[in-house]
Amino acid sequence: MALESQLLQYLFTGVTVGSIYALIALGFVVIHNVTGIVNFAQGDFAMLGALVAVTLTTRTPIFNRVFVADFDLPLPLGIVLSVLIVSLIGAVLYFLAIRPAKGASIVSLIIITIGAHFAFQGLALIAWAADPYGLPVFTRGGPLEIHGAILTRQNLWVIGVTAVILLALYLFFERTMLGKALRACAINRLAARLMGIDANRMALLSFVLSAAIGAMAGIVITPSTFMGYDSGTFLSLKGFVAAIMGGMNSATGAVVGGLLLGIFETVGAGFISSGYKDAIAFIVLFAILFVRMSVGVRKGQSQFEEVGM
């Protein structure tokens, strides 16, 4: 393969993988901006989205093969239902774990989300066992070949769905009153509350929104990669790195961070060794934290302040 087409191939793969990281990172940013919480169960929303969609559309043995889910819904309907169900799970997480801890420090709330991650993972293990699951590709047909690089139709779906979600989020935040209220809450919670905005309602909304985005990410990637009960962990970590790359507060930053991370990983895996693929994300994370920390120290400000509220 010529170097040119090889690079193009890395770019295609990187952007596809990066789109998923970008969506997970967006989920992190939405919740973090509104509540200050870093939700480490974000990747589990993706896992749940995928597994629920699989269960609804194909014959799936569940609960230690005691039951067989035989809904056999058409794929589009199954996807929509799965996104709705996971949004509901996001709301349940908020009401059961976050809301009752009202007044707790941000660090405690973050630890609660780590607990939620293990709870989701455990429940998924009970429901779906340790099997890998896949979904059929959304549209059949051969891959596209551009300058010797391969782009599958599912890759196009991933990139397209990401683009549509980004556009929808942009319109929501910029063009609707509810979106403005959410942004106001993110910028200055106290002032927003005194302007009549119910901060708890906005926090709930941020969890529902992030769960929905996560679910869509999980669903759209499952035809290309297998999804299992423990897939949430790595998705969370990669999304977290992408969100940090983007500054944790910026939706645009999260998307750029996600795409860059995807490209770094693919290029690194291609040129060095695929064994280093996951290490690259964390090397990037350490490098960014190191740089930001030293910049912060030079400015004489505490990074904790920035991370906290």
Binding site: A168, F172, R175, T176, M177, L178, G179, K180, A181, R183, A184, I187, N188, L190, A191, A192, R193, L194, M195, G196, I197, D198, A199, L205
Partner: protein
């Protein structure tokens, strides 16, 4: 008593062992401009925080339009018609001037997520109305020409006016202004003076905490003086100015007209 909009009786606030507000009682009549003054640390801003619900009270009772406020959250108080501005500006930095004011009209928005997401005509029309109403508020403070700039690009004095416009967007019955004159130029203070009078003439009740004595004495119908968290005087500006306890509290500042040291500090920031 029928036209009393806010009644405070025996208000008390402790932080740890420190008593910031101690048994403060006062009534504010509908349509008046009520000023709260006192030396630094007298508990003025704490009192505002109690009224707007930022802090829970330790004791005493607050009634707004006859309703007990104790259990109402800040956003519920805003919906009841209580709005405030801050001593240190708290604007939504990454938003335009217009968006800041539009957020103030949030309580008037009736259509939820689904309607907005689906871009239903009703939600669309509502947003246009909110936008127009917000522009009208901006026109009242003379900033309609700046509507689409980011709020951070405005001068301090203009940002202060945006905060007032945002508070007005709630269509409050009671407006709390926390040191509205701090950091403003003399000309801006005059404009503010004029604006507050116009608001009162439109039927709004205004409570202000202020260090600028010229502004307070010129504008207020009644003045309450706090010192060490306690009320030491209440009356017309003239009565308060002649009160020996007030003069003692200000210790030599009784003749001060114009720039208070704290104001000068804020202005240099």
């Amino acid at each position: 008593m029928t036209d009393t909009i806010l009644e405070a009786s025996g208000l008390r606030k402790e932080f740890g062992g420190v008593v910031a507000v101690h048994k403060v009682s006062f009534n504010v009549a509908r349509g008046e401009i009520f000023a709260i003054i006192g030396p630094n640390g007298a508990g003025k801003t704490t009192l505002f925080n109690l009224i707007s619900g930022v802090y829970p009270t330790t004791g005493g009772e607050l009634r707004f339009r006859g309703h007990r406020l104790a259990r109402a959250n800040p956003h519920e108080r805003a919906a009841m018609g209580l709005a405030r501005t801050f001593q240190n500006l708290r604007l939504f930095d990454n938003m335009t001037v217009l968006e800041n004011v539009m957020v103030g009209r949030h309580t008037k928005s009736r259509y939820g997520l689904m309607a907005a997401a689906l871009r239903l005509p009703t939600a669309h029309r509502e947003e246009r109305v909110i936008r127009e109403q917000a522009l009208k508020r901006l026109a009242m403070v003379g900033l309609e020409g700046r509507a689409h700039q980011l709020v951070g690009s405005l001068s301090f004095g203009q940002q202060r006016l945006v905060e007032v416009a945002r508070a007005m967007a709630i269509e409050p019955q009671l407006l709390l202004l926390d040191e509205p004159g701090a950091g403003l130029t003399r000309k801006e203070v005059e404009e503010l003076d004029d604006l507050v009078r116009r608001l009162r003439d439109d039927g709004m009740t205004v409570i202000l905490v202020e260090h600028n004595m010229e502004l307070v004495m010129g504008i207020a119908d009644r003045v309450m003086v706090l010192d060490y968290g306690q009320k030491i005087a209440e009356g017309t500006p003239l009565q308060v100015q002649r009160n020996p306890r007030v003069i003692a509290a200000y210790l030599g500042e009784e003749a001060s007209v114009g720039l208070h040291p704290e104001e000068a500090y804020v202005a240099t920031q």
